[in-house]
């Protein structure tokens, strides 16, 4: 067999004494799609960041075409022909879409930037992903899904021999994801090597030629995808067979906590009305862009409503900002954990104590000791995997980061908890922990609104389900009446 394009062996990496990778093994071949699967915290993203030149490995070797490769900066990775689609958006909000697409290698003519060909090529590249937007649009003004597509186009548009995709479909709708998979097939046909990382096993089974499973920082299984099944991959990921189950215990439904009437925000949603009672979990389903997140942000006061009424525990809420919503007993866990949820460069204790500093203070002075005790209580209660509460949140896995953000929301003692995509980018094992937590909170009488794009999660966890389509409510189901078909039908354009 020919020399592999890229071979990684024995790579290790620790952060602050906590090993993230203990035995990184991976082989990529030209014209092949290799899927990398594993739970969050299994070391996948760490491996990607090593290949991207963001992190330096503590030990181990990386070989390109059989020769040792030194990747100590992102520039080295670019030079070696490695192109990475990171999980998070790496982009320039104030520049145009075209410029974001070609930021790494602008086309020039006579030494000057060739804007005309840049726009043309931008339109072409985006059309391959079925994205039709003006190349001159400001990047920050297009939707999140569109931004991810532009980022994908940037990585696949160049001449990179190795394309690494870290959860590329996390923010995409079904249709957009299909276009992406078509693009991956084209890359393979062009003889490039693709490393495809995803939690969505259906995608992995559909697109990959080979698979590698990581668990606890080490490669534990690999082989041809033809011999793998959903069950065998899951088993290898968690080290035991799990069937996804939703720990939903019927709770006593209490008084009405949230009442929303005729809520509207120009250009985003209108005529939205619903209520949530104590102990109840209201699931909100819809396609990306249906207006779900916008409603939640409006309830939390992060956006202002143009019409409508919100009542929390019998009192009208006129939130001019999140501060008012928090005081009224509304807590919010945003979808974009990395940018809006956690303060990545601060410690776990700082993150959890942040909205409660005034309450924890003594004589008006912050009390680090009490903040630490508080954080340790939550670390234990939610089983956050960390060295201690002073560890920086950026060094935690996605699932543990999410637990920190939820802990912070809970510490404000809310009556209503809004969760926007609470398990986005979180592995199977951590998901189950988050579900158990949500269920427990409902049993304790918290009213919960849970936005999710995952149908099984919505069906499994909700007492009632609201479905949104194009900024309007398009369906409402009781738990016993809800079926996957009915909910999906309400979400899709008729």
């Amino acid at each position: 067999m020919a020399t592999p394009l890229l071979r990684i062996s024995g790579v290790t990496k620790s952060f602050g004494g906590v090993p993230a990778l203990t035995q990184g093994e991976l082989t990529l071949r030209a014209g092949e799609v290799t899927a990398l699967v594993g739970e969050n915290g299994a070391g996948k993203s760490t491996l990607v960041k090593i290949l991207a030149g963001v992190h330096r490995p503590d030990a181990g070797t990386v070989e390109l075409d059989g020769r040792p490769l030194r990747v100590v900066s992102p520039r080295d990775a670019v030079r070696a022909g490695i192109s990475v689609i990171h999980q998070e958006l790496i982009a320039f909000d104030d520049l145009s879409v075209a410029e974001n697409l070609f930021a790494h290698e602008m086309p020039t003519q006579h030494g000057l930037v060739d804007w005309r060909s840049m726009r043309l090529r931008c339109t072409e590249l985006l059309a391959q992903l079925d994205l039709h937007i003006d190349p001159d649009s400001r990047f920050g003004d297009i939707s999140v899904a569109q931004r991810h597509l532009v980022q994908i186009a940037r990585a696949v548009g160049g001449q990179a021999r190795i394309v690494i995709m870290d959860e590329p479909t996390a923010a995409l709708s079904h249709h957009e994801a299909q276009r992406l998979l078509a693009t991956v097939r084209r890359l393979r046909a062009q003889g490039r090597a693709v490393l495809y990382i995803s939690h969505k096993l259906e995608e992995v089974l559909a697109i990959a030629d080979r698979y590698v499973v990581f668990r606890d920082g080490a490669a534990v299984a690999d082989g041809a995808i033809a011999e793998a099944t959903r069950e065998s991959l899951t088993r290898a990921m968690v080290g035991r067979a799990v069937n996804q189950e939703f720990p939903r215990t019927p709770a006593t439904i209490g008084a009405e906590v949230l009442l929303v009437e005729g809520l509207a925000r120009r250009g985003e949603f209108s005529g939205v009305g619903f209520s949530v009672r104590a102990g109840e979990i209201l699931g909100v389903y819809g396609l990306v862009g249906a207006g779900r997140s916008e409603i939640m942000r409006t309830l939390f006061g992060a956006k202002s409503a143009s019409e409508g009424r919100v009542v929390v525990c019998g009192r009208p809420l006129r939130a001019s900002g999140p501060y008012d919503a928090l005081r009224a007993g509304v807590a919010f866990v945003p979808e974009d954990r990395q940018n809006e949820g956690a303060l990545l460069t601060r410690s776990i204790a700082d993150n959890i104590a942040l909205p409660s500093l005034a309450r924890l203070a003594r004589l008006g002075l912050c009390s680090p000791e009490r903040e630490k005790q508080l954080a340790e209580k939550w670390v234990e209660r939610l089983q956050i995997k960390c060295t201690d509460s002073t560890q920086h949140v950026e060094n935690l896995s996605g699932g543990n980061q999410q637990k920190v953000v939820i802990a912070r929301a809970l510490e404000t003692a809310p009556r209503l908890l809004i969760l926007d995509e609470p398990t986005k980018g979180i592995d199977v094992g951590s998901k189950a922990a988050v579900y158990r937590l949500i269920d427990e909170l409902a049993q304790r009488g918290l009213a919960i609104v849970m936005v999710s794009s995952e149908l099984p999660e919505i069906l499994g966890m909700s007492d009632r389900i609201l479905v949104m389509r194009r900024g309007r409510l398009s369906g409402s189901f009781e738990r016993r009446d809800a079926s996957a078909e009915a909910v999906l039908h309400a979400a899709l354009d008729a």
């Binding site: 670019v78 520049l95 602008m106 992060a302 999140p322 940018n339």
Partner: protein, 328 residues
Amino acid sequence: MKSFGRDLIDSRETGLAFFVVATFMAASVMFPSFASVSGMLDTLDDTSILMLLAVGQTLVLLTRAIDLSVAANLALTGMIAALVNQAFPDVPVIVLLLMSTAIGACLGALNGAVIWSLGVPSIVVTLGTMAIYRGLVFVVSGGAWVTSNEMTPDFQEIVRVQLLGLSLMSWLAIAAIVLGAIFLRHTVLGRRLYLVGGNPAAASSLGVSTGATQFFAFTVSGAVAGLCGYLWVARFAVAYTDVASGFELQVIAACVIGGVSVAGGVGRIAGVALGCLFLGIIKNALPLLGLSPYWQMAVSGLIITGAVILNARRDRASHGSTLVTRQA
């Protein structure tokens, strides 16, 4: 050329242009001499140094840095140029011009090198070098003034040379604006300033070095400040320790009024030129009102603050959300 037309009709600069024209009209109605050709040329000539420095500062601000040392750099290079001219009257003026630019570039590069190698915030570094450069003016001159009768006539005359009706200074300012605009819009290095300032982490993951890019911006800003050092001293025919004291703030104000974000990554030369013209008109009109210099300072400060607030509000209106997304 399409992009140039697009730039022209962009709402931000157009709005600012209306504002500048309105200010100019108001001043002209009150003082007809203002609107005369010679009055306009005088205003341009008076604004030239501000424009030159603002173009340099814009490069720095775009990379999410700030150069507070430009006025001190200007004073130091100006003083050195004057001292050299005093001691060696035979050295041709063109050599002095090049020398000033080179010295300024070195002082700017020093800022850039410290920021790059030590990773210290630029505001701290340039606050330090501002004091150092200003102190060095005193050191090299011994605190003495260099006045017009100690300078050669050539040294002073060159800034007044007229070409096609415009002064050399005005031509230099126009050249800086045109070159700056082309550089920022049409060169890869120019675009990199926006990448580095817009999202340093993203730029670095695309292989663009923040430190190297900022180093470049500071060197250019310093070179421009050095050139202006000579121009300033030649124009006012005097060099002393407090030359252009506090002028860096006017330069930064002109950039901000022109739409350059101090958070980096946003701004264009067209706007900066308008911002400079706006300040130039205010500065030339206020004395005509017969106010005391102190009142002039207060009034121009008030107007600048107002203009900055207007700009900031427009920015917020265009983005809508009260929840500001943090950049990685």
